[in-house]
């Protein structure tokens, strides 16, 4: 029997107004997220991949209601997240946290690590005030920082250590879901591996589910249970990780995978399949399938109709007229 998903998203839409003119009225809309569906099971990792502007970060923020969606449905632990009032949402947020990309700007430079990591415990009154310091020390130990580090400030840490502070803070309330928005892409290669390993350890220990937002396809292959590929606000293909990388169906997924540089000069002869052009503007997305202007296999109808979802195997769906 299928396990009930921890997080279930249906027809999620987020359009941002583009304002102009004297009255700053909306003159257009950025179609950041344009009808997105996915499920995430407890303790699993779903990765959202895609290029700049595909809407993956907006999706992550909308899921936590850090940005209010324009339309759609978000169910978390069976509860309709969009129907919650302010206080109920605050309670639900204990269960869902976020780690940001930039460890330099996502920590308050005036707050010590103790204040930063202890703040969620204080606000949600999870532990009595006098026990907060002890709880913080324990959290720091979990993420590989020393107890003395609690008196230090963000500027005293390297990028990797700051990201550990961000993780400790996210972990403080023992969430079930963590949205990780490019958590390692601003870190050096040797430090990336350390932080990824830490996140994997914590996932096992606390049964965390990750919504992992990334453009790093090699990393995503390694750490995900399933992967959703986004293009211009839409998911064009979803599959279990191994399946997606072995048998991509959508031409955009194929092109993405082919473009990843592989650190093996012996394979240099196999020339990359080049995708021409740029991602179109999400303000005026192309009609029909958003990928059709760059698609190598486009045909009749691609510029008129957005393809229906097709099934390629268990849990493997894609949207393309010609595959």
């Amino acid at each position: 029997m299928e396990q009930q998903p921890l997080l279930s998203v249906r027809d999620l839409v987020k359009h941002f107004p583009v304002r102009g003119g004297f009255w700053q009225r909306p003159v257009g809309w950025v179609h950041a997220v344009d009808g997105v569906d996915f499920d995430l099971a407890p303790g699993k990792t779903l990765s959202l991949v895609g290029e700049t502007g595909c809407g993956k970060s907006t999706t992550g923020r909308v899921v936590l209601r850090l940005i209010e969606p324009s339309a759609g449905q978000i169910r978390f632990l069976g509860e309709d997240l969009l129907a919650l009032g302010k206080e109920q949402l605050r309670l639900a947020r204990r269960q869902m946290q976020i780690i940001f990309q930039d460890p330099y700007s996502s920590l308050n430079p005036r707050m010590s690590v103790l204040a930063t990591v202890g703040e969620p415990l204080l606000l949600h009154a999870i532990v009595p005030k006098r026990d907060i310091e002890g709880a913080v020390i324990e959290l720091l130990a979990r993420v590989g920082l020393k107890a003395e580090d609690r008196f230090r400030y963000p500027h005293e840490f390297s990028g990797g250590q700051r990201q550990r502070v961000g993780i400790a803070r996210a972990l403080a309330l023992r969430p079930k879901l963590i949205v990780a928005d490019e958590p390692v892409s601003s870190l050096d290669v040797s430090i990336q591996a350390q932080v990824v390993n830490l996140m994997l350890d914590l996932q096992q220990e606390f049964g965390l589910a990750y919504l992992f937002i990334s453009h790093d396809l090699s990393l995503v292959e390694r750490i995900s249970d399933s992967v959703a590929v986004m293009y211009l606000g839409r998911i064009v293909e979803t599959a279990p990780a191994a399946e997606l990388y072995a048998r991509p169906r959508h031409p955009y997924t194929e092109a993405l995978l082919a473009a990843v540089p592989v650190p093996d000069p012996a394979r240099r002869g196999q020339k990359r399949v080049l995708l021409g052009g740029d991602v179109p503007s999400p303000i005026t997305p192309p009609p029909g399938c958003p990928f059709h202007p760059r698609c190598p296999i486009r045909g009749d109808g691609c510029d008129r109709e957005f393809p229906d979802q097709r099934e390629a195997g268990p849990g493997h769906t894609y949207r393309c007229h010609y595959r």
């Binding site: 591996a193 350390q194 090699s218 390694r222 990388y245 990843v260 540089p261 080049l274 740029d278």
Partner: protein, 323 residues
């Protein structure tokens, strides 16, 4: 006869509070016409400082080339006056930077910015320079170059801007092109386009390419030779294929193994991280700079810095302990 670019024992120091410290020391490199040398390292390894020294773009004070020679096209650049140097920079050697968003001037059209190179270095008139600029924009694959030449940088995507920067850099058919993380800010499909473009232009013009990157995948796809830097020094240098097949230095090996490789899922999800962090250049350990993080370290490693020596034909490494 020397190769096009030969750096000998370069040392670059920066002044600060306390005694000046070396950001780069004992760096020697050779690069010949029509070849690509990949310079690899993490932040703070000195790869950018090395290239800025070649271009004489080290901010001074606080920085200065404290020792070493930079042979370019049979003459030593270090003793040249700034006036003599300005005839070389931009004409015979030029540079492409990482940030396509900030490297262009927002108040001039892209055509004007390419034309400026012709006006300064070839003393062409305004109209003729603009005509040649349009031709150059076409060469770097900008569609509709006549119209695009009259546009401003903000009207272009990141990939297009990087093409404009390459057009500026290659306008005078330089003998040497230094590309500092040229694709890091770009999406993976656009990165593949830009890498192909640079290779194609290198072959066509016989330009030597110094490719600075932290991405071993990018190096594997385009470099002939590779130099790996750590804490201001070169730790390994070899032809591309042998370096990737059998890295000699433990840091090279660590870097290669800490990145997941597309299509190789491995046994578990964990990555082979290099423990610890890069040392502070002001307080380098007394022996080998990599010793505190090294899996192969022996007692002598903490006492004495190993020299960069020939380990096999065409391969140099800075390590006491064989793999």
């Amino acid at each position: 006869m020397r190769q096009l670019l030969e750096i000998e024992d370069l040392r670059v120091e920066f002044a600060g509070k306390g005694p000046p410290f070396a950001a780069v020391s004992e760096v020697s490199l050779k690069l010949d016409r029509g070849r690509t040398l990949g310079l690899v390292g993490e932040s703070g390894s000195g790869k950018t400082v090395t290239s800025l020294a070649v271009m004489r773009l080290i901010p001074s004070p606080p920085g200065r080339v404290a020792a070493g020679r930079i042979w370019f096209d049979q003459r030593d650049l270090v003793p040249l006056s700034d006036k003599e140097f300005s005839g070389i920079r931009g004409k015979e050697m030029s540079m492409v930077f990482q940030e396509p968003m900030t490297s262009l001037n927002p108040v001039f059209t892209t055509g004007d910015q390419v034309a400026e190179v012709y006006r300064i270095h070839l003393k062409l008139g305004k109209k003729e320079a603009f005509e040649r600029a349009i031709g150059m924009l076409e060469k770097v694959g900008i569609p509709d170059p006549v119209r695009r030449a009259r546009e401003y940088p903000h009207q272009m995507s990141g990939g297009m801007r990087q093409r404009v920067l390459i057009a500026i850099a290659l306008a005078c058919r330089p003998k040497l092109l230094i590309a500092d993380e040229p694709t890091t800010a770009l999406d993976v499909t656009v990165q593949a386009q830009i890498l192909n473009l640079m290779e194609q232009l290198r072959d066509e013009m016989g330009t030597a390419l110094l490719l600075i990157t932290h991405d071993l995948g990018v190096v594997a796809e385009s470099a002939d030779d590779v130099a790996v830097m750590y804490a201001g020094r070169i730790v390994e240098q070899a032809a591309c294929l042998p370096l990737f097949e059998a890295p000699w230095h433990p840091y090279t090996a660590g870097l290669l193994h800490s990145r997941p490789v597309l299509g190789k899922r491995g046994d578990g999800r964990h990555l082979d991280a290099i423990p610890g962090t890069v040392p502070d250049p002001k307080h380098l350990p007394p022996g080998c700079s990599f010793e505190p993080r090294c899996p192969r370290r022996k007692k002598m490693c903490a006492e004495q810095m190993p020299p960069l020596e020939e380990k096999s034909t065409g391969r140099q490494a800075r390590c006491w302990v064989p793999p």
